[in-house]
């Protein structure tokens, strides 16, 4: 198992595609902006949601991040790191700001009128598996909410976004060994929390 292996099946030519899109964006091509948004917005939303665990806050953060990225494309230097690393650095920073703002009590409008978010279970599964999937995601959300913000960022970037430890160190602005130890500590804490709630996800999905 390679030490720098990433878990996500990322396109090796992704960075070259980003560079060509960025070059077109700098020329004012609106279609290139939309293509760049479609390429990264889903990942940015997943990262924001994993860190904030709130749909509306995550949407606000994604919008804020993308507006900042489009306005600051001339500041991006490909020599210093990949576009995705730069994007995640901005996202993590905005999520930290949003978490600070969350100290003020707020009530989501959707909770007042009884709306709920879209189910995230795969649509092609049976209802039992979908329920088990939703329960597993809710348990994982509770476990992530119990983690400290630094450990949560580390584990989400590692397993949720598939970054290498070197990329994590760039995003979190810390030494690589610090990123490794945060992942180790988060793994240990999550294991104890997940064992406490007795979710037994492995058995559920292996039997489904």
């Amino acid at each position: 198992m390679a030490k720098q292996m990433a878990y996500s099946a990322r396109d090796p030519n992704e960075e070259a595609q980003f560079q060509s899109l960025i070059a077109r964006c700098k020329e004012g091509d609106q279609a290139a902006h939309e293509a760049l948004y479609n390429a990264v917005a889903g990942d940015v939303y997943r990262l924001a949601y994993s860190l904030l665990l709130h749909p509306q806050d995550s949407e606000d953060v994604v919008q804020e991040v993308m507006v900042y990225v489009f306005r600051s494309l001339h500041q991006f230097d490909p020599q210093r790191g990949s576009f995705r690393t730069w994007l995640y650095t901005i996202t993590v920073s905005r999520c930290r700001n949003a978490r600070r703002r969350k100290w003020l009590p707020t009530v989501a409008l959707s909770s007042l009128i009884g709306m709920k978010g879209e189910p995230r279970a795969p649509s092609a599964q049976s209802p039992e598996v979908a329920v088990a999937w939703r329960n597993a995601c809710e348990s994982l959300e509770r476990a992530l909410g119990a983690l400290s913000p630094r450990l949560c960022e580390a584990i989400v970037l590692r397993y949720g976004q598939g970054l290498t430890y070197r990329e994590m160190a760039e995003v979190l602005n810390c030494p690589q060994k610090t990123a490794e130890s945060r992942v180790r500590l988060a793994h240990e804490a999550l294991r104890s929390i997940l064992n406490d709630v007795e979710i037994g996800l492995l058995e559920e999905f292996s039997s489904a």
Binding site: E34, S50, E59, F70, R120, C137, R191, S192, L202
Partner: protein, 183 residues
């Protein structure tokens, strides 16, 4: 949170080698061991059932995280479209320019200036102008109140001849009549 992980009795009875391996298991499942360390760990696990069971637990946790964390917070198309509309509005929408409103604002400023000036000068003229005399006062000043009449006793003291009651009757009464106070 890390410090709250219980140090079980079973772990306290482990050999020194097993304790070292348990510590390395967490590093192993998070891809933080070198090739030589992984080989040593594999040799130990091959003949230690308790460490192998512990490795299975660690791998199950990693499996759950790898499986569920990427699926956490998958946005739907409506959310992404809503965010894109907001991004477009903020990125390309230029701030409103008020060049069309310049003549109107100049006219408004001029009008306000003129109104302020008129108010100031009107107030000062009212303060400087004397109050017009009321008819009662005019009549009272023009009518001699005190006239000298020959006193049979030879007293040269002035006596009022003009009736003061007539003067007061012409003046506006400040207080209402006593009968008006009755309910």
């Amino acid at each position: 949170m890390y410090l709250k992980v219980p140090f079980s009795r079973r772990q306290a009875t482990l050999s020194m080698r097993c304790r070292t391996i348990r510590h390395q298991l967490k590093a192993y499942v998070t891809d933080q061991l070198s090739q030589a360390q992984r080989l040593r760990l594999a040799k130990h696990i091959a003949h230690c059932e308790s460490c192998y069971a512990e490795l299975q637990c660690e791998l199950a946790t990693v499996y759950e995280l790898k499986r569920h964390l990427p699926a956490l917070g998958q946005p739907n198309a409506a959310q992404l479209a809503r965010i894109w509309q907001g991004v477009k509005a903020q990125t390309w929408q230029k701030p409103p320019r008020y060049t069309d409103l310049r003549p109107a604002s100049a006219l408004l400023t001029l009008t306000l200036t003129l109104m302020c000036a008129a108010f100031v000068f009107r107030g000062s003229a009212a303060v400087a102008a004397p109050l017009p005399p009321s008819p009662a006062i005019v009549r009272a000043t023009l009518t001699p109140i005190f006239t000298e009449t020959p006193d049979p006793l030879g007293n040269a003291m002035a006596r009022p001849t003009a009736s003061l009651t007539a003067l007061y009757a012409n003046a506006p009464s400040a207080a209402p009549a006593p009968s008006a106070r009755k309910p």
